[in-house]
Symmetry: C2
Subunit: 233 residues, 2 copies
Amino acid sequence: MSHLGYPDGSASLSESEPRASERAALIDLLAALAYGELSAFDRISRDARLAPDLAGRAAVAQAACVELTHHRLLVTRLATMGVDPEGAMAPFVAALDRFHDRTEPSTWLESLVKAHIGDGLAADFYREMAELIEPASRSLILEVLADSASSAFAAREVRAAVTANPALTGRLSLWGRRLVGEAISQTQHVLAERDSVMMLLMAGPGGLSGVSDLMSRITSRHRDRMAELGLAG
Amino acid sequence: MSHLGYPDGSASLSESEPRASERAALIDLLAALAYGELSAFDRISRDARLAPDLAGRAAVAQAACVELTHHRLLVTRLATMGVDPEGAMAPFVAALDRFHDRTEPSTWLESLVKAHIGDGLAADFYREMAELIEPASRSLILEVLADSASSAFAAREVRAAVTANPALTGRLSLWGRRLVGEAISQTQHVLAERDSVMMLLMAGPGGLSGVSDLMSRITSRHRDRMAELGLAG
């Protein structure tokens, strides 16, 4: 890993201390996802107010509560590992808040596109990372990611809206591209500061080229999701 | 009831049609409480952001989700009664939204005082009304009202804060008085337009003097709650 040029070598997966580094990466992943779920609660509960009727508002609020349940599962796991959840989540608060602040939906359809595209991107990223960590935490992460019915609802609603009114396509496609741009930008901020996760990625099958394969898989699935919504990726 | 002077007699509890009027009052109560719980979700999930740390934020978010569960129970009950929940809740949306808009907390302590004082007032009112309706709905309303652990937490936090810093007492006492003022004002708006609930009240033990007894019981419990918080009613 020396070619990556971390001067103090602190985060390198040297032969002598692979476990400490893997543990640090695992904690980072669980904590980032845990804060992601808490901020998802916050964002979705706010979006609920954009719903066109009370039944829709309650359905979106319910989706927010599902995210909160995930948050609690992940915080419990961190505590079980002997980690202070508050401290572990702290490094990810600013980047996630910035992402949500910069992608605050102004309409019900924008909030649905964000639910589908944003959650999809995050889920793809965490699923890829889960392949690289120990089985118990992998199961927890996959369980938390699987349990999201709101995305199918969002896709159905957006597709129906753009079919009924094709003039919406351009603006919502632009919105989808802005979401992916912000997501990539904030993820880079985090990775730049969290060596352990970057190390875990590089230590995966294929090393550096494995990372670029991962990026192209995530990008390709993003395009599929945009197409599902009837939007141009 | 003729002394109340409803010219068309539509809402009077005449001997010939007590059931229709009682059913209308019951639907109004369940629907007002149902929308109250949905707007409580909205308000509490917003207040969660005022929490001083992530654990507090998750705890407040969890309290919001408990309110949403209550909302779903009440909506299910309305649907079981053959009532369209959306239509039944509609008459109460404006008054409850106005209450929350006018009492938006600007600090964590204000949000806690609101949780304790506002929920307490609402619970007292619905508990009094529950005595006047049929047993199955009464049980549901009492169940929904009982299940609120957040209030004890709020009382503890506020009391500790004013004990540590008595200078807070004046401003928070004023805030508590403003909350009760707005609650009474918005309840009056609703009662003025919903004859059925007013009729139910008047038909209770004691008639008109029963209503004033009820008001004084609610006021006295409100003063007790203010004292619990260490505030001046």
